[in-house]
């Protein structure tokens, strides 16, 4: 086929990507370097990273993110497996449920949670710090569900779930053994990419943390954004760099897992 047209398209895609994402990012980055008047410097970054508030809130959100990922994986992997195996007609419904968080604004969820689990309710989860954290992890899991479910479901698609299940059963394995030793390792890349997104969501989340009044990174960012000029730009760039790091790691894992590759035809 015409490689010329192919080239032009490739460049067009790149151009769109640059205009859409590159330029704003570049603008932000350039701005973040101008904290010291008249010269480019990393002063903004130094200030941000040295702030004990930054370290505390980031650490807290990191912890929340990990808890969310664990809870999400435990919920999602068996569910996605089971839906594919036994309830294929349920898939549209499940898919719909996992999309709800995108559609119902986070504020509705929080609003509902606070009404349901406040100190005077039958399950006063907002009473203590640890139970509020638990509530928050539940909320974050809700927010992360669509990405995690979709990622895992896509990962499962490349497996012949039904036959692998039967093969494992005929060899004497239980469902638990199967999920732990066969399914989980085979969707590990999918889980990783879902986990990375979960991480990004939890780190940046503001509404839930603010309303439940927990010391998370989102409110801290918002505070900085409202009161400072250069630091938020630096924070955005840091977040972006973290993202690239994660992506790089995922690519690396991907390359090692080439046994999932579909055989090639000529």
């Amino acid at each position: 086929m015409n490689t010329m047209t192919s080239r032009i398209w490739s460049w067009l895609v790149l151009l769109v990507a640059i205009i859409y994402f590159g330029l704003p990012l570049l603008g932000t980055f350039e701005f973040s370097l101008r904290m010291l008047r008249g010269t480019y410097s990393f002063e903004a970054y130094r200030v941000v990273l040295a702030d004990p508030q930054f370290q505390a809130t980031f650490g807290y959100s990191l912890l929340m993110a990990c808890a969310t990922i664990v809870m999400g994986v435990v919920l999602v992997v068996p569910t996605a497996y089971w839906v594919r195996l036994k309830l294929p007609h349920w898939r549209p419904i499940i898919e719909f449920i996992t999309l709800l968080p995108l559609v119902i604004p986070a504020i509705v969820i929080v609003f509902g949670y606070i009404r349901l689990y406040n100190t005077s309710s039958w399950l006063p989860l907002t009473g203590t710090a640890w139970s509020t954290d638990l509530l928050m992890v539940c909320g974050y899991t809700t927010l992360a569900l669509p990405y995690l479910y979709r990622a895992v479901d896509t990962g499962l698609r490349s497996l012949d779930i039904a036959t692998l299940t039967e093969a494992a059963e005929s060899l004497g394995a239980s469902k638990f053994t199967l999920i732990w030793r066969i399914i989980l390792p085979n969707v590990s890349v999918a889980i990783l990419s879902g986990a990375f997104l979960t991480f990004a969501i939890v780190i940046g989340e503001f509404v839930l943390a603010a309303l439940l009044n927990r010391p998370a990174f989102g409110p801290y960012m918002q505070l900085m954004g409202a009161n400072r000029a250069y630091e938020p730009a630096a924070l955005a760039v840091i977040a972006f760099a973290l993202t690239w790091l994660c992506m790089g790691l995922i690519q690396l894992v991907n390359r090692r897992q080439r046994h999932l590759a579909v055989p090639q035809h000529r």
Binding site: D160, T163, A167, E169, S170, G172, A173, I182, N186
Partner: protein
């Protein structure tokens, strides 16, 4: 008492019956094929034995024990699938050892069994490979080894060769048979390919629309088909309409040509009945036992490699003849009139049509 007993097995889903009144006794060490067109229920019976489907009614006994209420992972049955179904994240050795590791056998024991199995399937050096690094034929060998490693009571093979190329298919089916013989394992092999079933089996179960048409040895299935379905499904067949002219003498008329079978016919004079003749039972040259002839006009000559297939027309009726290709044969011309010889004892009577 047979080793594997299937009694009055039924399976129906909401709207349709897929298996009805299936009865079969399999002796220990026997190699049985289920043969039939797709949708005939052969795979469903296999899956009921494995435990992946629950019979609507009937009993399944292995070695005297009823297994219907046992889960698949409690039945100790080896299963090989059309799609290989190897675990993609495990090496060949780990795949083969999976069942033993699930059963918590000691590691040295597992390692030894895996080595034996690898030697059995002639892939001793490939234990550390991953499934995606193997060819289809090799993957299926590994799947076979994996199923055999747990020393199952019964080995079930669900169209294991369908996904493979023709030459590998033939080689692997011979290997499967040889391994099965050497281990003496009771085996059920599901296929829609009649040549596969005929070449590999001790006995064949021919199925159609959920019921058994015939259970017999390959030779008997081919040479003495008990139903019209078996006759036409297994092997190619010429079906001819003939009119009974003298039942006691076994005399028939086909398009004004007379045949005389060596047996009286149970039909009154004037009845139209159907005869069947295998293409390879017909010959263009007379042989010692060819006591009958038919004359036809050549419609088409097809060269299939080892076989030359001649399509003739006797009046309004089609006749296909197979003969081995021989370079010195005189070429047959389309339109030519030829005499076809055959033995009266090779004629299958299909009854009044």
């Amino acid at each position: 008492m047979a080793f594997l007993e299937l009694e009055h097995l039924h399976k129906h889903y909401a709207t349709q019956t897929v298996v009805q009144d299936f009865n079969l006794n399999v002796e220990q060490g026997e190699f049985i094929s289920f043969l039939g067109p797709s949708g005939c229920g052969k795979t469903t019976v296999l899956r009921m034995i494995a435990g992946f489907e629950t019979p609507s009614a009937g009993q399944i006994r292995i070695d005297g024990h009823d297994v219907v209420r046992l889960k698949p992972n409690q039945r100790n049955i080896g299963m090989v699938f059309q799609s290989y179904a190897l675990f993609p994240n495990l090496t060949v050795a780990q795949n083969i050892g999976f069942g033993l590791s699930v059963a918590r056998q000691p590691k040295t024991q597992i390692k030894q069994t895996v080595q034996e199995m690898l030697a059995l399937i002639k892939l001793a050096d490939l234990g550390e490979r991953y499934p995606f690094q193997l060819s289809g034929g090799q993957q299926q060998r590994v799947a076979l080894a994996r199923a055999l490693a747990i020393q199952p009571k019964v080995l079930l093979l669900d169209e294991p060769l369908s996904a493979l190329d023709a030459k590998i298919r033939v080689a692997l089916r011979e290997d499967i048979r040889a391994i099965q013989r050497s281990l003496g394992i009771t085996t059920i092999f599901v296929t829609h390919d009649q040549e596969e079933a005929l070449s590999i089996s001790d006995r064949i179960v021919v199925m159609n629309q959920g019921h058994i048409e015939q259970v017999d040895t390959p030779l008997a299935i081919y040479n003495q088909p008990s139903t019209r379905f078996v006759a036409s499904f297994v092997g190619a067949l010429n079906i001819l309409n003939a009119t009974v002219s003298a039942p006691e003498q076994g005399m028939l008329q086909i398009e004004n040509q007379t045949l005389q079978l060596q047996q009286p016919l149970p039909h009154p004079m004037g009845t139209t009945i159907q005869l069947a003749l295998r293409p390879e039972a017909l010959s263009l040259t007379p042989k010692e036992n060819t006591d009958q002839t038919l004359v036809g006009q050549v419609q088409q000559v097809q060269f299939l490699g080892s076989v030359l297939r001649v399509q003739l027309k006797a009046g309004a009726q089609n006749l296909v003849l197979d003969q081995f290709n021989q370079p010195q044969l005189i070429p047959i011309q389309v339109g030519q009139t030829l005499k076809v010889y055959f033995a009266s004892n090779q004629v299958l009577l299909l009854g009044a049509g």
